[in-house]
Subunit: 200 residues, 2 copies
């Protein structure tokens, strides 16, 4: 299964529109990286992206849509960088932990960004379900690829089910980390426990 690398909106519209969209998402990432969820203020995003506030809302109907879309584009970068690659590790569990560990480390490098994107993802309501769904698919796809070692094999239903459970656990732990309930070590340790339980 290949990851869904681009949201539909990446392809549509004129060049100027794609460029505006790109600027908006870049501004979002920058602000989130610096100051987290609270720093991503719609007026600030629109100014930094050099776009009117109304235009920003035409592209992304809410702050949550904006942040979840930003998460989607970040995620698709990860997915793309893994595409066609063989993931190191001798067992499915090792490979999955390798991928998740890499991701977790990246998120620890930009804690504010992680906080912003994670909280948006978790706060999203039903109106954001399509964006959320695409993020979920990418996550599951990456995990299935890791379980198999590469992305050439068609995954079984069971594999997909297990990948979904692992993804769920990872998201919960991420929230725990963002919330300050778990340390980074807690996350790694619990993730290891869960993955070894699920992939034995």
């Amino acid at each position: 299964m290949n990851a869904i690398n681009s949201l539909p909106a990446d392809q549509v519209g004129s060049t100027a529109q794609r460029e505006r969209r790109r600027r908006i998402l870049a501004a979002t990432i920058e602000l989130a990286t610096q100051g987290g969820f609270d720093a991503v203020q719609m007026r600030a995003v629109s100014e930094r992206a050099d776009v009117a506030l109304g235009t920003l809302y035409r592209y992304f109907p809410s702050k949550i849509h904006l942040l979840v879309s930003a998460l989607g584009t970040e995620f698709s970068k990860t997915a793309t960088s893994l595409e066609g690659r063989t993931i190191p590790g001798d067992t499915p569990a090792e490979r999955v932990l390798n991928v998740l560990g890499r991701n977790t480390k990246a998120m620890q490098r930009d804690p504010q960004l992680t906080e912003a994107l994670t909280r948006a993802f978790m706060f999203a309501d039903a109106s954001v379900s399509s964006e959320i769904h695409s993020v979920g698919m990418m996550l599951t796809g990456v995990l299935v690829q890791a379980m198999n070692g590469d992305d050439t094999v068609e995954p079984s239903e069971d594999q997909v089910a297990i990948a979904k459970v692992i993804g769920d656990v990872w998201l919960s732990l991420l929230v725990g980390w963002v919330t300050g309930r778990h340390s980074a070590d807690d996350v790694s340790r619990s993730m290891s426990v869960a993955v070894h339980l699920l992939l034995r």
Copy 2:
């Protein structure tokens, strides 16, 4: 392990203060049940609880604290009702699914309330960690009790670890349901998959 049945705040303060706190939480639950997260407006809560807005903020420093505390009191009711009881089911997996299924059904009965409480729980930041922690403990406690069949046995470390993973999966699925990504059936099915994988 017995559940933590009451937050500290339940015990402190004068009778009038406990009564105010009770009214506030009751008003919160009522509004959430009717209209979900958005309907729990601080002005509305304060009016319905017959308390000044400033007083409401003295008791609960933010809307998120308020809703997470409400979740805590709801949860502690569940925990209390299970206390000392023997949970039906022949295997740990069956008993855990029994408890979770009962809870899931209750949440489906009041979808708006569930949406409000779940979103608050997930949106909470580090300033709410103590409230969140107490909810997490109750959830883990209930699950451990279910795994053992009753609450008379001291749980092992492994059991606690597994219970935490199960709790994480359940929370993620709940978010998925609230967000409209998963149907109620999806939740039951995935939960069953996860629990059978983890408790085999």
